[in-house]
C-alpha cells in the first residue's frame, strides 16, 4: 500500500460488487474497507442492472470515512451485443447486450437511474435481466454521468466488429444523450494486448470527437486472491465446471481494487485520464443521505387533512374500543393517550402511513380476513383504536415510546399477521391495485450462500459428482448451536472427503470464502414498501418470480437503514387455523365464536399448566413445555410472559431462572431501587421487556421516552462505544439527581446493559399471547375443529401431522382414515355416528388408539359426536385434479361400487394414483375389497384396463386375492410411506408388552415414577433440537402411545452418539430421570436404536 499526495488523484469509479450476482466476487462492505486501506477518498459502486448493494455500501463507506458514489452498469440493447472472442477462437460466450456505466451526479440523476432501471426491468413479463433502449436512456439522462465501459461496453464491441467509424457513431449518439461534458471514454489496462489496441483506438476517437477520457479498472473484486471466487461464480453462472469454462473465466487477476499509485503508474503516459477520475468524483454530489424519499400520502375526503382525518377515525375507534361498560373506566386515559400519540404523529408527518395501514386492515375486515398487528405497533393506542392491533395498550400500560418517538430516523414499523395462503395474497394484490405498480412493491430477500449451498455449487464447479455432493450437503449441519466440532472441515471429513488432498482443501477453502455472498434476489415473505406512486424514483423495482408481484432491489435491513417505511403483511399459519375454526365451529358445533371476546377460562390455564400444549401457538415447543409448568399461568399476562421468556434474549440474559424462582416463591421479589417497583412489579422485579428498560430509565434518571429508546438502541446494538458512554453518563447523572446511591446505580446500569440486547417487546409478546390463548382455547373446547384446521394448514408449527393426530387421539378425538367414499381434498369433520371405521380394526386387532391418557382426559361432549376425516391431500402422489374428479363423480353419481367402478368413473386416475390410494387404505370401503392388499391386487388390473376389443376375451380373475393381508408392521409402513401419518395405533403400542417385559417405560410411566432415578424409555424421535442458547446440549422428544418424553443429551453424550441421534427414528434411551416440579426429563447416557418397529414417518422435525 502506498500513501502520498499523488495517490488521492485517482478515484475508482467502476466497481462491481457481488450484488452483480455471479459477475463479481466481493461484498460492497469489503470494497469500501479496501478503499479505506488504500487511502482512496471515494469509491463508486456500479452493479449490473441494479442498485442492489448500494445501501450496504453507503453504510460501510460512511463508517470507513470515504464518499460512496452511486451508479450502475446498464445493459443497452441498441448497440448490438457485447464483445466476445473472435470466431476463430473456441469459446462459450453467450450473446449479451453491452453495458454502459452511469453515475449519479445529483438527486435528479439518482431518481432517473432508478426510473431507468425500473422501466426496462418492468418491461419484462417475468423476472429477467432486461435491457434499456436508447429512448429510455434519453428519457432518463439528466443528472447522470456516462462512462463507456470496458470490455463489457458498447465501444469495445463496436471497435472490434465494425471499426472506428461505427464506434464514432455510437460515441456521438451517447454524447447527444448525456451532453459532451457528461460522457467519458473509459480506458482500462489489465495487461492484455487486445485492450491496449482498443485503448489506442479510443484515444484517437476521443481526440477526434473532443471527448474526455477517464481511467478505471473495471473492478470485480477487492483483492487479487478473490479472482478465484469470481471464477467459481462464473462457472456457476454458466452452469458449467471450472475445467470446462474455458475463456469464460478471468484472463488474469488484474481486476482488483488497485492502489492509486499503481493506476497512476499504469496511466503515466496519460495523466488526464487519472485526473479526470478526481474531477468526476467531485462532480458526483449525490449520496444516499439525500435519497428524496417522502412518506406516502393517503387519500382523504375534501376538507380534511390527513391529520384531521386520522384524528376523526381514531376518535371513533376509541369510543368503540373503550365505550363498553367493562372498559369505560379507561376511556379518559385512552383519550389522553391517543391525543399524545396523534400530536407526535402529526409532528413527524406519519398520519398518511397510519391511514394506509388502517385502509389495509379495513379491507381485511370487509373481506372476512383475520388481521392482527404485531410488534411494537401494539404499544400504540392509535393502532388499537384503528383496530390495527388487538392488544389494549392503555389497559396493559404499554409504553408508546417503544413504538415511536421524536428522534430523527425513527420510523414506525407495523407488521400485520394474516392467514397464510390465498387470503394473504389477496391482501397483497389489493395493495398493488390501490397504490399502483410503481407505488408499492415487496421488499427483497437476498439469497446468500450458506454452508450447504456453497458446498453444493462449489463442488459442482470443481467437478465433483452428484453422489458426493449429496452426501456432503446432507451432512453440513444446520443446528443452531455449533460446537467446536461443527466446522466445515469436520463436515467434509464426515462426508468422506479427505481435507488433506489439495483439491479437497481448495474446495473447503472456497466454500468458506463463499459464505454470505449473494446468490440471487428473492422476495421477502411479507414486507411491502408503499410510496403512493413514486417508489420507482426511490429504488428500482423489478418483477418477482411470482406472477403479479413486483419487488424492490433492497432487503428489509436496507429499507430500514435508508428510512423506507414498510408494512409487513406476514402469513401466519395459526391465523389460518383460527380462521378455519371460525368457519367450522358454527357448522359442526352450532355455536358462534368471536375471537375478540374469548373468556378467560380456568380449564384452558389448567391445560397450559400441564404443558399439554401440542399444536398451540408459541407454547408448544420443547422448551416452552419444559418451562410452562414452572410459570403456571393463571391469567393472560402470565401467558404474555411465557411467550416472551423462552427466547434467546431472556435465556442468554439469565432472566428466565430468576423469574421462575420468584414465580414459584423460591426467591424473594426484590428491586434494584424502590422507585422501580411500579415498573418491574408485573414481572416480579426481573426486567423482561424492552418497555421496562425504557421505563426504568425514565423513572430513575428522568429520561424522556425518546432518550430512553435511544439508550435501548445504543446498548442493544453496541455499535458506538462513545455513544454508549455518553448515555451511561447521562443515566448516572439523572440517577444522582434523583437521589439514587452509587451501589443502586451500578445495579441498575448492570441490569440495563445485560438485557437491553436481548429483551423482548412486551407489546409483541402480548400480540402473540392473544393468538396463543385463542389457540389454547380452541384446542381445549373445540378439539376436532382445531385439529382439522391444523392439519389443513400444514406445514406449520413445531410438530408433524403424525404427531398432531396422535396427540388429538390421546385427547379423545376420533380420527378416521382416508376413504375414497368419504374424504374430501382437505380434512373434514363428520358426525361420529354411523359406520365408524375405527382405526386399528383392519386385519389384526390392535391396542386402543386412544392410548392410556385418553381415559384421564375430560372428553368434550362435542368430540363425542364429531370425528375427523383425513383428507385426500395426505395421499402422496395424488394430484389435486384427480381428487377433484373423484369428488365430482361421487357427488354426481354417488359412492363407488367397486375398484373397477372407481377406475371407470374417474378415468383421470392413473395407475400410480390408484396404487397410492390402495396402499394408503383409502379403497377399503369399496365393495369386494377384503383388505388393503386385496385393493392393491385389484387396482393393478383396474389400472391396466383391457381394450374394448379384447375385453370379452380377457381372462376372468379368480375371485379371491392370492395376497395375504398386511401385518401390523406392514400396514404402519404403508401408512407412513403413503401418507406420512397413521390413524391406527401408535407404532410403539405394538411393542409395549415386549418393552414392558424388558423394563422399558412409557412416557406416561415417567410422570409417576418414584424410587430409582435410572430409567429406560423407548419411542419415536419426533423432534431434535440443539438451540444456540443451550451450549451444545441436545434435546430430543420421544413419542409413544401414551405421550411425549423429554430427553436431554450433554454435548459429550451427543458427540458419542452423534450418528444414532441424528439418523435413528426409534430409540431406546437409558438415563437418569429428573423431575423438577412436574417437569420430567431423562438425562440420557446411552442411546441405542430400537429395531422392532419397521414403520415411521421419514424423519423427525429438526429445529436448529
Amino acid at each position: 500500500m502506498t500513501d502520498g499526495v499523488g495517490d488521492a488523484e485517482y478515484i475508482e469509479l467502476h466497481t462491481a460488487s457481488a450484488f452483480s450476482f455471479l459477475a463479481a466476487a466481493s461484498q460492497p462492505e469489503a470494497l469500501a474497507e479496501r478503499a479505506q486501506q488504500l487511502n482512496m477518498p471515494a469509491l463508486a459502486l456500479a452493479d449490473r442492472n441494479g442498485l442492489y448493494g448500494i445501501a450496504r455500501f453507503h453504510t460501510m463507506a460512511k463508517k470507513c470515512g470515504i464518499r460512496a458514489h452511486i451508479g450502475a452498469e446498464i445493459a443497452v440493447n441498441s448497440f448490438g451485443s457485447q464483445l466476445t472472442p473472435p470466431s476463430w477462437l473456441p469459446h462459450q460466450f453467450p450473446a449479451a447486450p453491452p453495458r454502459l456505466l452511469l453515475l449519479c451526479a445529483s438527486q435528479a440523476g439518482y431518481q432517473n437511474l432508478c426510473q431507468l432501471i425500473t422501466r426496462f426491468k418492468m418491461r419484462e413479463a417475468s423476472k429477467a435481466e432486461g435491457a434499456a433502449t436508447l429512448d429510455d436512456l434519453e428519457e432518463f439522462s439528466a443528472g447522470l454521468i456516462c462512462l463507456t465501459g470496458g470490455d463489457e461496453g458498447p465501444l469495445a464491441a463496436t471497435l472490434a466488429r465494425e471499426g472506428s467509424a461505427a464506434a464514432r457513431k455510437h460515441a456521438n449518439r451517447l454524447a447527444s444523450i448525456y451532453g459532451r461534458g457528461n460522457l467519458y471514454l473509459e480506458l482500462q489496462r489489465h495487461h492484455q494486448r487486445e485492450e491496449e489496441c482498443r485503448n489506442q483506438s479510443l484515444l484517437s476517437l476521443a481526440g477526434s470527437l473532443n471527448l474526455p477520457v477517464i481511467a478505471t479498472n473495471g473492478v470485480r473484486y477487492a483483492t487479487e486472491t478473490d479472482r478465484e471466487i469470481l471464477d467459481v461464480l462464473t462457472s456457476i453462472h454458466h452452469h458449467t465446471s471450472l475445467d470446462r469454462a474455458g475463456r469464460l473465466l478471468s484472463y488474469n487477476d488484474a481486476r482488483e481494487l488497485r492502489p492509486a499509485a499503481h493506476m497512476a503508474a499504469l496511466f503515466a503516459y496519460l495523466p488526464e485520464a487519472i485526473a479526470n477520475t478526481r474531477i468526476v468524483s467531485d462532480r458526483l454530489e449525490f449520496t444516499l443521505d439525500n435519497l428524496g424519499y417522502e412518506f406516502p400520502h393517503a387519500p382523504v375526503p375534501d376538507g380534511d387533512t390527513m391529520d384531521s382525518f386520522l384524528e376523526k377515525r381514531v376518535a371513533e375507534g376509541v369510543l368503540k374500543r373503550y365505550g363498553s361498560p367493562a372498559k369505560r373506566h379507561l376511556l379518559a386515559k385512552a383519550r389522553a393517550q391517543v391525543a399524545h400519540e396523534l400530536k407526535l404523529i402529526a409532528k413527524l408527518g406519519f398520519a398518511g402511513y397510519f391511514l394506509i395501514v388502517w385502509e389495509v386492515v379495513r379491507y381485511c375486515q370487509q373481506h372476512g380476513i383475520l388481521a392482527q398487528g404485531r410488534g411494537s405497533a401494539a404499544n400504540s393506542a392509535v393502532c388499537y383504536a384503528l383496530e390495527i392491533t388487538a392488544v389494549d395498550p392503555v389497559g396493559m400500560e404499554l409504553l408508546f415510546e417503544r413504538f415511536l418517538n421524536e428522534n430523527r430516523g425513527e420510523w414506525p414499523d407495523i407488521d400485520l399477521d394474516l392467514p397464510s395462503g390465498d387470503q394473504r395474497e389477496q391482501v397483497i394484490q389489493h395493495v398493488y391495485e390501490r397504490y399502483g405498480q410503481l407505488g408499492a412493491a415487496m421488499t427483497a430477500n437476498v439469497i446468500s450462500y450458506r454452508g450447504r449451498s456453497a458446498a453444493r455449487e462449489v463442488g459442482k464447479a470443481l467437478g465433483f459428482d452428484d453422489d458426493q455432493l449429496a452426501r456432503l450437503s446432507g451432512l453440513v449441519g444446520h443446528w443452531e448451536w455449533r460446537g467446536e466440532n461443527d466446522t466445515m472441515a469436520r463436515n467434509f471429513q464426515q462426508a468422506g472427503f479427505d481435507a488433506r488432498h489439495p483439491r479437497i482443501a481448495k474446495y473447503l477453502d472456497l466454500c468458506m470464502r463463499m459464505q454470505n455472498l449473494p446468490r440471487h434476489l428473492g422476495q421477502h415473505s411479507g414486507g411491502m414498501v408503499i410510496c403512493a406512486g413514486m417508489l420507482n424514483r426511490v429504488v428500482p423495482l423489478e418483477r418477482a418470480s411470482m406472477p403479479g408481484r413486483t419487488v424492490i432491489q433492497w432487503d428489509k435491513e436496507d429499507c430500514a437503514d435508508l428510512g423506507l417505511i414498510k408494512v409487513d403483511l406476514l402469513g401466519l399459519g395459526m391465523m389460518a387455523v383460527l380462521k378455519d375454526c371460525i368457519e367450522i365451529i358454527p357448522t359442526h358445533y352450532k355455536q358462534e365464536i368471536d375471537l375478540a371476546t374469548l373468556p378467560e377460562d380456568p380449564v384452558v390455564y389448567q391445560t397450559l399448566c400441564k404443558a399439554d400444549t401440542v399444536g398451540m401457538f408459541q407454547v408448544e415447543s420443547r422448551a416452552q413445555m419444559a418451562s410452562i409448568p414452572h410459570n403456571a399461568p393463571t391469567r393472560f399476562y402470565d401467558l404474555v410472559v411465557q411467550v416472551a421468556i423462552i427466547r434467546p434474549g431472556p435465556i442468554v440474559g439469565k432472566m428466565m431462572h430468576p423469574y421462575m424462582r420468584r414465580r414459584q416463591g423460591k426467591e424473594e421479589v426484590t428491586y434494584a431501587h424502590p422507585s422501580l417497583e411500579p415498573v418491574l412489579k408485573r414481572t416480579l422485579g426481573v426486567p423482561l421487556f424492552q418497555e421496562q428498560l425504557l421505563r426504568m430509565a425514565m423513572t430513575v434518571a428522568s429520561f424522556t421516552g425518546a432518550e430512553a429508546e435511544e439508550l435501548r438502541r445504543a446498548v442493544g446494538m453496541r455499535r458506538s462505544m462513545q455513544r454508549m458512554k455518553d448515555l451511561e453518563g447521562r443515566l448516572r447523572d439523572g440517577m444522582t439527581r434523583n437521589g439514587i446511591g452509587p451501589e443502586a446505580q451500578d445495579n441498575i446500569v448492570q441490569g440495563i446493559s445485560s438485557f437491553a440486547m436481548y429483551g423482548f417487546p412486551e407489546s409483541h409478546a402480548a400480540s402473540f399471547a392473544l393468538i396463543a390463548y385463542a389457540s389454547a382455547y380452541l384446542k381445549v373446547h373445540y378439539l376436532a375443529a382445531f385439529t382439522c384446521g391444523l392439519l389443513n394448514n400444514q406445514p406449520m408449527g413445531f410438530y408433524s401431522p403424525a404427531v398432531l393426530i396422535k396427540d388429538a387421539q390421546r385427547h379423545g378425538l376420533r380420527v378416521r382414515p382416508i376413504c375414497v367414499q368419504h374424504s374430501h381434498w382437505l380434512c373434514t369433520l363428520e358426525p361420529a355416528s354411523g359406520n365408524l371405521n375405527l382405526p386399528g380394526t383392519l386385519g389384526a386387532p390392535g391396542p386402543s388408539p386412544l392410548g392410556t391418557r385418553a381415559s384421564t382426559n375430560s372428553q368434550q361432549p362435542a368430540e363425542a359426536t364429531l370425528s375427523l376425516r383425513i383428507g385426500l391431500n395426505y395421499i402422496k402422489g395424488l394430484r389435486q385434479s384427480s381428487a377433484a374428479a373423484i369428488l365430482e363423480s361421487r357427488n354426481h353419481a354417488g359412492v363407488f361400487a367397486s375398484i373397477d367402478d372407481l377406475a371407470q368413473r374417474v378415468p383421470t386416475l392413473n395407475r400410480k394414483e390408484l396404487v397410492a390410494l390402495a396402499s394408503a387404505g383409502a379403497l377399503k370401503a369399496l365393495g369386494e375389497v377384503a383388505h388393503r392388499r386385496d385393493a392393491l391386487w385389484q387396482v393393478e388390473q383396474a389400472g391396466r384396463p383391457v381394450g374394448p376389443l379384447l375385453r370379452s376375451a380377457a381372462p376372468t380373475s379368480s375371485a379371491a386375492t392370492p395376497l395375504r393381508a398386511m401385518t401390523t408392521d406392514e400396514r404402519l409402513a404403508a401408512d407412513y410411506a403413503g401418507t406420512g401419518i397413521t390413524t391406527g395405533p401408535h407404532p410403539m403400542a405394538y411393542q409395549r408388552e415386549s418393552l414392558r417385559q424388558q423394563g422399558i417405560l412409557s412416557a406416561q410411566d415417567l410422570e409417576t415414577r418414584t424410587g430409582t432415578p435410572h430409567v429406560r424409555i423407548a419411542g419415536r424421535v419426533i423432534c431434535r433440537q440443539r438451540p444456540g442458547t443451550a451450549k451444545g446440549f441436545v434435546f430430543l422428544s420421544l413419542e409413544d402411545e401414551t405421550g411425549i418424553a423429554n430427553i436431554i443429551l450433554t454435548p459429550d453424550a451427543f458427540e458419542q452418539n452423534r450418528l444414532v441421534v441424528t439418523r435413528t427414528r426409534f430409540l431406546i434411551v437409558a438415563g437418569k430421570l429428573q423431575n423438577q416440579d412436574g417437569v420430567v426429563h431423562v438425562k440420557a447416557h446411552t442411546l441405542t436404536p430400537l429395531s422392532a418397529p419397521t414403520a415411521g414417518p421419514d424423519q423427525a422435525r429438526n429445529f436448529h
Binding site: 476463430w88 495487461h191 470443481l462 471429513q493 468422506g496 479427505d498 392388499r933 393393478e940 388390473q941 379368480s958
Partner: protein, 516 residues
Amino acid sequence: MDRRLCMGTIGEPSMKQELYACITAAEFPAQALLRLRTDLESEPVAVLEGRAPLETVCSLNRPARLKGAALHMTRLEAEGIQDLRLLPRSEETETAARAALLECAAHFSPRIEDVSRGTACACVLDIAGTERLFGPPQTLAERLRASLASAGFRTSIAVSANFHTARLKAAATRGITVIPRQQESAALSKLPLSGLGLDAEPAETFAIWGIQTLGELAELPEIDLITRLGLQAAEWRSLALGALPHTFQPIEAEFALKEFCAFDTPVEQSDSLLFVAARMIDCLVARASTRAFALASLVLHMELEGGRVYRRVIRPATPTIDRKFLLKLLHLEIAAHPPQAAILLVALTAEAGQSSKVQLGLFAPQMPEPSRLDVTIARLKAIAGEDRVGSPVLEDTHRPGSFHLESFVVADSASALQAERPHLALRRVRPALPVRVELRDLKPVAFHDNQRRFKVAAAYGPWKTSGCWWSADGWNTEEWDVLAETTAGSVACLLVRNHQLSKNGRSVWQLEAYYD
C-alpha cells in the same frame, strides 16, 4: 441345446438330460487381488475403485466386514478402520483371475456360460454327461470346488437340471448345493426376490404386495399375474419355479492373433528379425483374412538379453492386410527405436479390425487415394508419434499456446478458410529457449541466451495470464514483446516469464518466439 423333458433323479447317469453346475465367486475384485497374496489371507482387506480423491470401497473380504467396513465407504471412512488394508482395484488382475477360474472350470466341462453380475464372477458349466468322468453331481461339485480352492478362489456351487435354478441358488447360498430334479421350486422358495434383479417398478409392486421370496412369487396365479404385470411376469414366475428354459450360450474360444518365436541364439541383426517378422505377419494376415478381418494393430513384444523387455505398438490409420505395408511400418518402428540388446524371443500380437472400403464417386474430384493418405499419415505417426500428427485445433482456454491435434479431415469447401484470422504470425521456438533477463524498473533491458547478449530497445508488456488455479496444472505467466538488438541487427521477439516454474523463488524466463 436339446431340451427334452427330464425325468428321474439327478444321480442317474444319462447323456440326454440337462445338468448344470454354477460357480459363483463373490467379492471377486478382492478375491482376485488376494488369491496370490497368501500373506493377506486372514487380514481385513477392502478394495477401492474410482479416481482419487473420490475412491470408494467396491469389494471386501469377510475379516474386513467384521471390522465394520462396508461397500461404498469412501477412502477416508475406510482409513478410519484400524488395521484395514486398502488395495486399489486392478482390472488386469481380475481379467487374469477370471481366466484362471474359467480355465479351472474348463477342466470339468468345455461348455461354459459367463453369468457374472456386479462384483461377483459367476459361470455355469454344462455338465450333462460328465458322470462317467467325474462321478455323480455331488462328487463333481466337490472336486470342482476343491480345484477352484487350490487356485485360490472361494466359491459356492449349485447343481441343477435347470440353468437358472443353478445360477440363482449359487448366488444366494454358500458351499455346495445339489438340487434334485423336480425339486427346483422348493430349493428356490426361500430365496429373496432381489435375486431376480428386477427393475425398480416391479420390485416396488412386489414389495407392496408383500411378496418377498421366490416361493411367494411362484404361488401367484400365472394369468392374474400376467394381466397385472405383463408377460414378463410369467418369466419371473417360471424363474421362481425353477422351470424357465435357457438356451446355453457357451463362451467361444478366444480368437487370438498371436505369433511367437524364440531364437536358439540371440539375434543382433534387425534384418534377421525382419525375416522372421515378415513370416509372422503373413501368418497373422492369413488367419485374419479367413475371418474377413484386417489387422488394426500390431504389438511387438521382444525379450532381450539381460532380462529387458522391448514393446512397441504399431497402429495403421485403417485396418489393413497389406503385408508389405505392415512390414514397412514394423521396419520403421524398429529403426526408430532399435532394441538395446540382442533378441531372445519375439512375439507379434495383432488386433483384428474391419477392412476399410471406400466407394469412389464418378464425379468426385481427383484426390489422393484414401489408403495412400492413410499410409502416409501412418508413416508420419510411426515416425512422430501417435498424438503428434493431425490438424492443430485451438482449445477453449486462456492458457498460452494451448492446442491439440485432431485427425485430418478434408474440408467440404474452401469457405471455412475464409473465416477471420489473426493478422500477426509468430515463429515459435521449440523448445523455448531459456534466457537470463536483466530488469530495470521491472522491465527487461537486456537478455542473454548463453551465446549472445541482446539489448532491449523497446519492451511492451507485461501481458499477464494465469489460470487453472484449482489444479496442479495451473499457469501464471507474464509476456513481453521486445525489440532486441545485437550486432547482427534487431529482432522482435516474445519473452515469457513463467511464475509457476520458479526455481529457488526466481521466475524462469524463456525466449518463446520471434515475430515474423
